[in-house]
Symmetry: C2
Subunit: 334 residues, 2 copies
Amino acid sequence: MPVTLKDVAVLAGVSRSAVSRTFTEGASVSNKTRAKVEKAAAELGYFPNALASSLTTGRTKLIGLISNNFHNPLFLEIFDLFTRGLQDRGLRPLLLNIAEGDDVRASVRLLTQYSVDGAILASSTLSPDFAQAFLQSNVPVVHSFGRFANAPSVHIVGIDNRACGRMAAETLIARGYKHIGFMGGPESATSTQDRFLGVAEVARAGQGVKFTHSFAEAYSFDAGRDEMGRLLAGQDVADAYFCGDDVLSIGALSAIRTANLSVPEDIGIIGLNDMEMARWENINLTTIHQPISQIIDSSIDLVVSMMDEPQRYPEARIFPCHIVERGTLKRLAS
Amino acid sequence: MPVTLKDVAVLAGVSRSAVSRTFTEGASVSNKTRAKVEKAAAELGYFPNALASSLTTGRTKLIGLISNNFHNPLFLEIFDLFTRGLQDRGLRPLLLNIAEGDDVRASVRLLTQYSVDGAILASSTLSPDFAQAFLQSNVPVVHSFGRFANAPSVHIVGIDNRACGRMAAETLIARGYKHIGFMGGPESATSTQDRFLGVAEVARAGQGVKFTHSFAEAYSFDAGRDEMGRLLAGQDVADAYFCGDDVLSIGALSAIRTANLSVPEDIGIIGLNDMEMARWENINLTTIHQPISQIIDSSIDLVVSMMDEPQRYPEARIFPCHIVERGTLKRLAS
DNA sequence: ACGCATCATGCAACCGGTTGCAGAAAATTA
DNA sequence: TAATTTTCTGCAACCGGTTGCATGATGCGT
């Protein structure tokens, strides 16, 4: 049913090669035949089949976009940027939604079966096994929002979570908070672990500063609300919390308001990500900005350059974060 | 580099056909050769190339998932359900992010170049031209969250927006509101138009009921907040508003609280969708539940059955909605 | 107008699979 | 055991393109 190369060749009265070449950048065709072919193609509504050509060229322009994070509104922003960024470069995102406990090998198999030109892991909570598995099957892979390491075995683009933890602790101490708490995301996530290390390092070194911590079950509103509810019901409530991320923070804020406490008077909250919702007036969250747009652009550029240079030496691209001042932390006493 | 059918055939000492057949459901192969092939395949780590086989079978198992809605958190839930639903049925979502003013034909071309087996339009704000364009190029297409019509030319799965509008108005009238307002989404969206027709119909027929309306620029928090800000600054504020959707409602709530008015005492709000955020305690939005999970399941089933039956007569699958009572509307005076 | 370099074109093989067909092997029946 | 049916198997053509190579056409210089 669909119109093929051959149909165009027949109508234009040229060989199939001629048709192929007029649709191939930089191939040698005379203006005369090109015109004939283009006329015939337009008449028939022909466009080359990307999959068929991939067979010989080895390029599908398909990029696997893999995530397990479909409950954090931040990821809608992330998917938006990724899909637009890929499309702008003529690439197509093949989306893979990984659920808890999914087999790593099955995912890799799936993407290799569709011969994707590359894969992007968009998650800070995905097991490092995933990246390793892709690496072993020679699919160019970059792990966006992955763990910063001095000697990464796979390309990483993201932030220094540990530095963010330190920044959060320093900020809280500077504001005069004496008992600072870390309410992390899932303990198994490397991002959580690193953020914890960062806050703990600074908070424990602080003069007359007390430090406590706990972990929520996921990076989600419900998990944040539940964990903060538990904390508030306990004995040892902190003056201010660094929450694992913004959506956790928003859950925590909900629990705090439900308990009839006020923010930032009774309890201060600082989040991480600076997602769109953080600036909604009824949330107005003080948070650490993560430059997702740069991270995503850089990830795409990296995966593109790996397509031409598969053995490229793995690098970690780390972007700086900064505090965004809003309403959930006491002001600097100055 | 990647291992092919031929490699397996050589190692197993059989013909390429034999290998192909062992990987084809229901093909005729003896247990003996199947065993030989499977052993060789396992040894080499072989899996058939889905794209190459699509060339002869005409099936790619690729489904275009098309949306223009990457700023409404509801769509993260929607993408989650779509991707999981497709994956469960062995299909792969090829995501297409349509921006304002993008060329319809370019989108169609893109998906036909990748010979997708079908396409799902997930949006209530996409121009109907899109569906028409897919239809004309013989790609099975279903429009999820599309406009209900008695004689649709393309498959529609969604809700009866007009009925929802009526339901909202009836609810507001029953609660004793005397001036009811409709704060719609973008006026160009068919969903907005229909919701408007519904509320207007009932509200204008109400005894002693006043009805006013206006439209926000988009289905987004900012648009809702801005539009409600404008309304509150004007002369003719309603007692209760039916907002175009939940995220608009949340924006509106923000504006109302900023103006130091209280909900539901000063102003009532009812949304539409029942997105996850609507049940967050600090939002607690009374809203009309749209059964997205059923809509999505049904959409996928429909596109799958169209793959086998391309000329299937277009149908509209409409799912009922219901009110979810939370905290942004006065209770029934009973 | 002639010789030569350059460009354009078609042929045919190939990418990684699938499948109709005919003959071989195995299973069934008598 | 022979005849007959059924199940397997390999060959070769095909899906929709691309590309190296040899040949033919064109343009250039003189």
